[in-house]
């Protein structure tokens, strides 16, 4: 390893301390003795299971629809692709509460799509678990698309062209050449978007509300508990941190190429 200049080490240390300080703050105030009781409570267990359900469902939807979107964005050079790319990435920069409001106007009972869903299928999204999933999908989509789109771009197209000259069908090329090569990026994108879905708060509370057992995911439960029962909020935060680390640590290497 190259020697790293001292100044760089100093700046990096300050940044790391900054990033760790909230975590230290949490752990320091954690009601360790009452933890088992708190964690056993129904509200926390419900919120935890709901969070897992919502975040994994969102990741599944993002996975199924994200690959084709990323493929189109990476491989088409129509002039409106630039605009389309910005639209797709919008949820990344939009305040989640704006996203939630927008979802309400689209999928709410009076929204142009929501009305139709309600009239034709009797389907209601706002203030339901499905609504939570929709909100999570909306905010986490761009994270997956960015990762997979850049992976598609990084593939030398001559590789696929060579496979074509060998007589292979486009589906064979996609499954045997393209997909295996972007697989690490798909995993990384899934982990990122799953993490975003797990932490989702603003769009969910706006669009799906905060109903225990139905739409009250971990972040919403923490927000509510902070007012009434700060110890529960701390315990919930611990649950979130542990869950996130358990999923994200194995993927750390996917984001940064290992040495």
């Amino acid at each position: 390893m190259n020697r790293i200049p001292k100044t760089i080490v100093l700046i990096a240390t300050i940044a790391i301390l900054f990033l760790m300080s909230p975590l230290i703050g949490l752990l320091q105030r954690m009601p360790w003795s009452g933890l088992t009781n708190l964690l056993g409570s129904d509200i926390i267990l419900d919120a935890f299971l709901l969070s897992l359900f919502v975040s994994f469902s969102a990741a599944l939807v993002v996975f199924i629809f994200g690959i084709p979107i990323a493929w189109v964005l990476a491989r088409s050079n129509f002039s409106f692709m630039k605009l389309l790319r910005s639209v797709v990435l919008l949820p990344m920069v939009l305040p989640p509460v704006v996203g939630g409001t927008a979802l309400l106007f689209a999928f709410g009972r009076q929204g142009f799509l929501g009305k139709w869903l309600n009239d034709w299928f009797g389907l209601t999204l706002p203030f339901t678990t499905a609504g939570s999933v929709v909100a999570a999908v909306f905010v986490s989509f761009p994270f997956f698309i960015v990762a997979v789109e850049s992976a598609f771009r990084s593939i030398n197209e001559d590789l696929e062209r060579t496979a074509e000259t060998l007589g292979a069908s486009s589906s064979k090329i996609f499954l045997k050449i393209t997909l295996p090569r972007i697989f690490p990026s798909i995993l990384a994108g899934l982990a990122l978007s799953w993490a975003r879905a797990l932490g989702e708060f603003g769009a969910t509370i706006t669009f799906a509300g905060n109903m225990p057992g139905e739409t009250q995911t971990l972040p919403l439960a923490i927000f509510l508990a902070l007012e009434t029962n700060p110890e529960a909020a701390l315990a919930l935060s611990l649950v979130m941190i542990v869950t996130s680390l358990a999923i994200l640590v194995p993927f750390r290497d996917q984001w940064l190429p290992s040495r």
Binding site: D158, L159, R161, G167
Partner: protein, 339 residues
């Protein structure tokens, strides 16, 4: 029987590529040219990675690219071995070779043996050395049972063993028309009876290695076979080059000519030779290369050219880089051809 017939053009960024070539079944044709002359683009045209702007392309008499038709790469029966091989790194050597749906088990194992890949057939292609990769790439292309085989600089940077295996195969293969792009005139001459020289998108010469050696059509052709090449305007027994240098000729000729000066016909002197009925030019030594018995010296001055002298003469003259010398050559040694 003509297997490949290409007569067309393609507009590129800096120039228009214009090609007319024909390759027979069982024939290997070499395409030589400087970097950026469009050699690889011709292969891509035939492989279906580029589309002709005008003209047409036929394989086995069937039109596969013209104004009306464009057959997809997949259905062209063309084996393309690109310059950087484009192996499927995540698959094994064997999986690469049997990738084509046209490949047969029998053919694949035969190729693995021919290209000496048995011991690495289960190795990931991404872990292969340069020589192994090239052998895999060529086997993979051949396993797809092509009618036309396109090889882009197949021996660049390869180990001697891999080179020999590939050459051996190319010399004995049957049933295909092979177009081989190369930089290396020795490789071209040893693998092919017909060389095509391509410069800036245009074919500047077609001929056997011998024909190119005796009458190179351009400075590039001449440099390939180690000859000096000077275009000039002749008027009787004197020809004047672009830079205004006068050369004495042995036969009277009129108009634009190409003059070839064989490097071995040039003698070097430290002092200006006097009273000699020869062409005498002053020049500065740019580079000195030792080749066995001989020394090749790059000279720059009124003309830019190469002289080849013996080691003995080199030592007697005591020459160094940067020295100024006199170069002399007889008019009878010059090969003059009208253009």
């Amino acid at each position: 029987m003509t297997m490949l017939e290409l007569n067309g053009s393609l507009d590129l960024e800096h120039f228009t590529l214009k090609v007319k070539l024909e390759i027979k079944k069982n024939e290997t044709v070499c395409l030589l040219g400087p970097n950026g002359s469009g050699k690889s683009t011709i292969l891509k045209l035939i492989g279906g990675l580029n589309k002709l702007t005008a003209g047409d392309l036929r394989i086995n008499t069937k039109v596969i690219d013209s104004g009306k038709t464009f057959i997809h790469s997949r259905f062209r029966n063309v084996g393309w071995v690109p310059q950087n091989q484009m192996l499927f790194d995540h698959l094994t050597v064997k999986q690469n070779i049997e990738f084509s749906p046209n490949s047969s088990k029998k053919e694949v194992s035969k190729l693995i043996e021919l290209f000496d890949l048995q011991h690495i057939q289960n190795k990931k292609a991404g872990n292969c050395s340069g020589g192994e990769s090239q052998r895999v790439a060529i086997s993979r292309a051949i396993a797809s049972k092509p009618q036309v085989l396109l090889l882009d600089e197949p021996s660049t940077g390869l180990d001697e063993k891999s080179k020999q295996i590939i050459y051996q195969y190319l010399k004995t293969q049957r049933g295909v028309a092979t177009l081989l792009v190369t930089h290396d005139p020795v490789e071209a001459a040893s693998l092919s009876q017909r060389l095509i020289i391509l410069e800036k998108g245009e074919i500047t010469q077609v001929g056997t290695p011998d024909e190119i050696k005796t009458s190179p059509a351009t400075p590039y052709s001449a440099s390939l076979v180690g000859l000096n090449f000077v275009p000039a305007l002749a008027n009787g027994l004197v020809a004047v080059t672009d830079k205004g240098v006068e050369l004495i000729l042995s036969e009277s000729i009129q108009g634009q000519v190409n003059i070839v000066i064989p490097p071995k016909s040039i003698a070097l002197y430290k002092e200006k030779p006097v009273g000699s009925p020869r062409n005498v030019l002053m020049a500065k030594i740019l580079e000195i290369h030792h080749f066995g018995e001989n020394v090749r010296i790059n000279l720059d001055g009124q003309l830019n050219f190469i002289a080849e002298i013996t080691n003995n003469a080199f030592e007697v003259l005591n020459l160094h880089k940067g020295d100024e010398v006199w170069a002399a050559f007889k008019a009878t040694e010059l090969i003059t051809t009208p253009t």
